[in-house]
Symmetry: C2
Subunit: 143 residues, 2 copies
Amino acid sequence: MTSPLQHLQSLPSWLAGRVAARGRGLVADAIAGEGLRLMQHAALAATAEYGPVAQADLGRLLAVDPKDMVGILNHLQRAGYVLRSPDPADKRKNAVTVTPEGAAVLARCAALAEAANEELIAPLNPDEQRQLMALLARVHEGA
Amino acid sequence: MTSPLQHLQSLPSWLAGRVAARGRGLVADAIAGEGLRLMQHAALAATAEYGPVAQADLGRLLAVDPKDMVGILNHLQRAGYVLRSPDPADKRKNAVTVTPEGAAVLARCAALAEAANEELIAPLNPDEQRQLMALLARVHEGA
DNA sequence: CTAAAGTCATTGGATGTCCCAACGATAGGC
DNA sequence: GCCTATCGTTGGGACATCCAATGACTTTAG
């Protein structure tokens, strides 16, 4: 029988949590110089892809609470990276779009985030890195 | 070129974060019935394994802030699951030990946590589960 | 066409994690 | 004996996550 702690620390949820915490820290530090937080970067990327998009849709895409999305977009809008326009088709919704400045900072942050991720998975060779990604993706999608 | 959101969502840090968030939720729900939080369970497991152990050592083992460890052990002690005794060899330290009640609830929680983890990695077959664990462990230890 | 139910953005509040700083008490190196 | 470090504890603050509720609006059902 394994000991209680080895038992706990060898649990997938524990290991994934530790790896995720380190990855989160690395990426956060990397893009901090651009003045963006993790979820601000994510919201900016999602907005860039889905063109005019409602806040609720962004929240569902990124698994972010609607309340927190308000603050995230407030920051992005004050920084001039996104715009909130009333949606003519549905007056409840905000149509969020990316500004040219937002696209520029997104490109820089994407590169920084990718570099941070390379540092995270540096202990693995390229083949193993692809394996890890594939396994994580299947666990994620199988939820 | 991949789209911005696909780019971000295919980053290891993002995928690990989503998997970890789901695993955390599954385990937290599983052991909630026993009245324990995630970190209380972890501290109990670590105490069970390392016998009389100082709070600072527990914090380093589990990557928990000493400030938060105070509250965690307060809860465990009030519930009768651990004891804090003065360490005769080093009067600064608390020698934390597990009570029989603590060992009993730990056994139940360990089983519940393991079941939750099986649900988490259910999309993978046993071979792939071992691969994922090995890769995560190497990324974690390579930090 | 009207009424009920649902959604949207927003606000408020609670909790948990992490970091930094301090304190008195104690330990170890010199 | 001094100096530095560590231990448990307290305090504060930044940040992420989650739940509840509100008013405006949309959709659906009768």
